[in-house]
Symmetry: C2
Subunit: 283 residues, 2 copies
């Protein structure tokens, strides 16, 4: 039997709150302490019983055995070295959607071994503690990066925890993670934001769109409801890869534009047949 641990969650929003629900559900936590700067979110997190108590960061660090950082990636970069400065033998992990910059920020930190860099590949377009759900992470992938730089015991606990909450673990370098994440997550969000802006810019008859909106529209535009506080830092931290993919995406859209301008049936057919090969990758 695995010993339950006292766990602090820094940032009790959608991701931290959903993680708290899972840690309790899977009997991984002996106590759940929340650190939350937004007073409204702090009150909600208590009311929804996501955590047992809201405390300040220093108290959370001193009272816990595991510290889980679930805040926007720009804040992780700043807070992670400060937390490593203060810990003794606690395990520290983050749940951020980028990995390279924060790994760089603590690369030579004397407590680097206590840190495990992770990215559970799940999210929703809603944010805050009220958006937390119990089963979000289940059957999804989690990426653990540069694990050779983490202490064995820390890595062991984190791996076991993710398996217990139903995730399958992929390991890769932080740089490889950021490249792949640009493809499978970051640019999808830009596409969706841009599509929403296209509709809002050009289409004045919102009522007609609202009534007609089909499943196809909803699934491509759904992500456009996502919060700028989370996504601006992700795009900026991963801007090299995101820009690379985004430029290619614009080129691909321009191929459709040109084919349509030329009324070129064969070219359109070829572009769509090429795209159909995505069936190899997603079921």
């Amino acid at each position: 039997m695995q010993e339950r641990k006292k766990i602090a969650i820094i940032g009790v929003g959608l991701i931290g709150g959903s993680m708290a629900l899972q840690l309790h559900e899977k009997k991984l936590s002996a106590a759940l302490l929340g650190v939350e700067n937004n007073p409204e979110h702090a009150a909600q997190a208590l009311e929804l019983e996501l955590v047992d108590e809201i405390v300040d960061l220093d108290k959370a660090i001193s009272l816990s055995e595991v510290i889980i950082i679930a805040i926007p990636v720009n804040w992780i970069n700043q807070l992670l070295p400060a937390i490593l400065d203060k810990i003794d033998q606690q395990i520290v992990l983050d749940l951020g959607s980028t990995k390279s910059e924060m790994l760089q920020a603590v690369k030579h930190h004397p407590k680097r071994g206590r840190y495990v860099a992770t990215h559970p590949m799940w999210g929703r377009e809603y944010s805050g503690p009220a958006a937390a759900v119990r089963d979000g992470f289940e059957n999804r992938a989690v990426v653990i990066c540069d694990s050779a730089d983490s202490d064995k015991d820390a890595l062991h606990w984190v791996r076991n925890m993710y398996q217990k909450i139903g995730m399958h673990i992929i390991e890769m370098e932080g740089k490889a993670h950021d490249l792949h994440a640009a493809y499978i997550s970051h640019v999808s969000h830009i596409t969706s934001f841009a599509l929403a802006n296209t509709v809002l810019e050009k289409e004045k008859e919102e009522q007609a769109i609202f009534e007609m909106a089909s499943g196809g529209f909803e699934s491509t535009v759904r992500l456009a409801k996502s919060h700028p506080g989370m996504w601006v830092p992700i795009f900026l931290q991963n801007r090299h890869h995101v820009l690379d993919v985004l430029r290619e995406h614009i080129v691909q859209l321009q191929k459709f534009e040109t084919s349509l301008e030329n009324n070129d049936e064969q070219a359109l057919k070829k572009l769509i047949e090429d795209a159909n090969r995505i069936r190899r990758i997603i079921k």
Copy 2:
């Protein structure tokens, strides 16, 4: 009680097959005749019991009281006038994703009144009779266009049929339909095809993508599995509106590109906040 009718379905694929399942389920059909040029699809449609019998077009027309055309929009343009040439008092409707060109093709036809132009706003990324589902149309919108040009009895039957299968009816002109459909359906598909091509072009490590692929990626790229035989004719028939929306979409993506190039946090935040207003339109 509504009298059941003998119904012919021209094209027993995803859409025609799903419609057949609903017509039977809601006790709207006394008989279901299928017309299907693809021998494999014809055999599947019989095996799956989507229709009672596969017959040729002339027999279908002579034996039925209602003729439902569920084939790609380029074929509808050609077949619709030929069908109106041959009917007596049958009701004819189509389920195509564009409306202007086919409405134009039969505008002055002496049997124009027997035709009702419709677009049930539902689809899937899979095609063929095996992809047909029983409840696809339920709780979706159906657009009926230029209904003043349809005979009252034909319109009455079609409206009642769509209500019985659980759709809510919107009426508008064919031209307005094609404009709105470009926004809420056609360009979403181009975005998805182009995103798939972006990934397939640039990302060599397909296994990593496959393993990491999250809900966000799946929902934006799902549509890229859609069939060129259906979508090329839609894009070409609606190319004026599709090009207009696609060009705006590229402009919107270029705003993200510029903001990223400039590392402009405020501009990115503004773009995402603007996109968040889509919450007004989709739940």
